[in-house]
Symmetry: C2
Subunit: 456 residues, 2 copies
């Protein structure tokens, strides 16, 4: 036999069981998005490279998959251009289109292109694959799904509150215990403003993040080495050692940032979200907690920033998001504020696997297999199978009249919980023998009784 | 403002309403596939070009979207190769990967690659986009979804019967009246054999297809011009004029093809499928009828061939399929027979639109909008909204406390059927005013009553 065919590195096939699990994840997220009035859209896999280039930084441009122009892709390309070698310029001459790199830029493009058709505020969700020419490694793929929800055209913090409720509902439905961490870009800006070091935000959050591991003295030493003066370090002390309930933390921060208008606005925003979330949270709800070390997406988030961590599995953030103020500015439509979240489907899949949290019905595909004893018996089973399907029972008739053993093996491999047998005796009695594949129990039943037994 | 951004020609954005309709189509097909024990798989958008090239003919190779190698895509390419211009050779040097062109070749690749993990017969379905660099025109896109189901590893005609039942069930669920046409490659081979003109099959089916339009004499004249001798034309007469019930047609064909073993086997196959289908069909079921002019996919189908036509809309085939004998041979795994169908989602979408057949719940997204009167009122509404969502009601709180008129306009644009108002009076009474946006009726209700009114 020839060499087995393969797929490009960093891509995956999803078999029946993986797909059943992935569908469970996507459907759960989809249903919760819909409960909050988010509507689905889809954009093409290919976008014009002019839409994608320059949106993800220089590194991002290199990670875009570019599509060779169809037809005469060499037309008009000069020898000098070819002599340049594999530059961005030559790539852009050979390719007009690229595969989407995330769902955010295509969404911004969509909003601008369809601005006249959309009711603002526009709440959309989108679940589609994205492609990145990253070096593949464990947990990092060149094709993966993103599941984003965003509201654009509204400054209201109520959107942040509802997104936190969505996160909470989704993870409760999954049975995954999580903590939702919240921060605010304006608080971080306030801190930087207060100590007069706007360029040091990331250094400061990284240092604070090490508090538990290396202790206060070492953190301060690190800040000193990073170029902060003693006055700034002193001012940072209450912030570095921040602890207690959310309310206590808020009070400390309010005092520490009393001189920064921006900082105080950040605190107000977080406080509103915390309070409103708490007011509708149940006992099972995820904890929402202020975490100043949360510094994701600082180059585009302008208000609240969120991140979700699983409590029972060691894994990075499984969901994240935040508010941005100028999503569509890059396409010439300024002043549109938005806030969004993105569930990390691949990591959620890993968490559900590790904790074995899939409901049984997710992994049961076919519920009933009719054993094939020959043409007459099959003709007898066909209307019974039709009736079972009518009642919503997922069933198969084994297509070939092969050995019983092989057919039972098939049922076992596919983990089919029930098998129906109909030979001479059953046909004469107008019944089938239903075998429960787990208990081994066999019962002679009418079609109606069989359906009731499977559905019950 | 800058020029509006756009998307590559031949591709589409799907907005909320289109997506709701498309999801209805895909979910209906998905549910019926599952009822028959088909399980979903997904394969990567990108395949190695070595997997795709040479599988769709020379024309097909040109229509593959190829992905420029990432990194140094010019490495190792010689000046002489560049001087060739835009040849297939140069494209293959610049690109190792391409976008999938259909779901069949990736499925064949999947079966061979995962042969050790699969239980045969393997019933899979797959609903994913495919890409073709075709010239875009009305109804022809460069990105479109295919929805395929196939059984491989079984020769049994029971698979054909079940696929016909699937087709019938799907279109009954849609409310689209259809006729399913069936033919068999072996019957066509038998005809060619009988008249000694194996290369004339397509000419013959094309000529027969014109019978209604141009009449028997003209059909015979066309066959004569096509190079058939008088004896062959005489032998074809009962076949050209074939009419009556399926049973009458089968009897006529049996006589006409009495000398061809292959032809008779084709008739046996069609007869089995017709009879078994008929035995479980209900009064509402689609008619299944023999149609000798059906000659799709003659270069790969080896047994039954099907095609579905809508009765109430002028449009081409909306579903098709057939049996093939050597799906995986191209990847070095011979002898695996299969049979499959493919629903044409874009055409089904058009038919459902033209006949206005979407159920109301498909197009209703958000069911309830809470009007935003300010911060206090919103805090009052949040737990009520949470309770409604808990009960499965899809609702939104308008995020900003803007003018009432603007909020009502939003409800109208999104076609939200209910609006909840809660001001001083309602808050004092622990109730909300529910407005039915269709009748205009307003009622003061408790949260429970409101939920019941919306769900009822």
């Amino acid at each position: 036999m020839a060499q087995k065919p393969s797929i490009p590195k960093g891509t995956r096939d999803f078999g029946p069981q993986e797909m059943a699990r992935r569908n469970y994840i996507f459907n759960t997220i989809r249903q919760v998005y819909a409960l909050y009035g988010f509507q689905q859209i889809e954009t093409p896999a290919m976008e014009n490279l002019s839409t994608l280039m320059g949106k993800y930084g220089e590194e991002g441009d290199k990670l875009l998959f570019k599509i060779l122009n169809s037809g005469d892709f060499m037309r008009g390309i000069q020898t000098e251009e070819l002599a340049e070698g594999a530059t961005g310029h030559l790539a852009a001459r050979l390719c007009e289109k690229g595969l989407r790199y995330d769902l955010t830029v295509p969404f911004a493009r969509y909003v601008v292109q369809h601005r006249d058709e959309l009711s603002m505020p526009f709440r959309r969700y989108q679940i589609q694959p994205v492609w990145r020419a990253d070096r593949p490694q464990k947990g990092r793929y060149r094709e993966f799904y993103q599941c984003d929800a965003d509201v654009v055209g509204s400054d209201s913090l109520l959107n942040e509150v509802e997104l936190m409720q969505i996160v909470d509902t989704v993870f409760r439905r999954f049975g995954i215990r999580v903590v939702i961490k919240i921060n605010n870009r304006k608080i971080l800006s306030g801190i930087a403003e207060m100590i007069g070091a706007a360029d040091k935000i990331v250094d400061i959050t990284v240092a604070i993040d090490k508090l538990d591991k290396i202790g206060l003295d070492a953190v301060n030493e690190e800040l000193r080495q990073g170029g902060l003066d003693e006055k700034a370090i002193a001012a940072l002390q209450p912030i570095i050692s921040l602890s207690g309930t959310n309310a206590q933390k808020m009070a400390t921060m309010r005092e520490a940032l009393a001189q920064s208008e921006t900082g105080l606005r950040g605190i107000d925003e977080v406080e509103y979200v915390l309070n409103q979330y708490q007011a509708v949270a149940s006992e099972q709800s995820a904890t929402l907690e202020l975490d100043l070390t949360l510094a994701r997406g600082l180059n585009y988030y302008t208000g609240c920033i969120f991140e979700v961590k699983a409590l029972d599995v060691e894994i990075g953030s499984i969901t994240g998001g935040g508010r941005y103020d100028n999503l569509t500015g890059i396409f010439g439509m300024p002043g549109l504020s938005g806030v969004g979240i993105s569930f990390g489907a691949d990591r959620i899949y890993d968490v559900l696997n590790q904790l074995d949290l899939y409901p049984e019905e997710v992994t049961t595909a076919t519920q009933l297999l009719f054993i094939n004893f020959g043409e007459r018996e099959t003709a007898y089973c066909l209307p019974i199978a039709a009736q079972a399907r009518q009642a919503g029972v997922r069933c198969e008739i084994y297509p070939d009249a092969t050995k019983m053993k092989k057919q039972m093996q098939y049922a076992n491999q596919k983990q089919i919980p029930f098998v129906a047998l109909a030979g001479e005796t059953e046909m004469a009695a107008g019944r089938v023998t239903l075998k429960n594949m787990i208990t081994g129990e066999q019962t002679l039943l009418t079609a109606d009784e069989m359906i009731a037994a499977i559905k019950g």
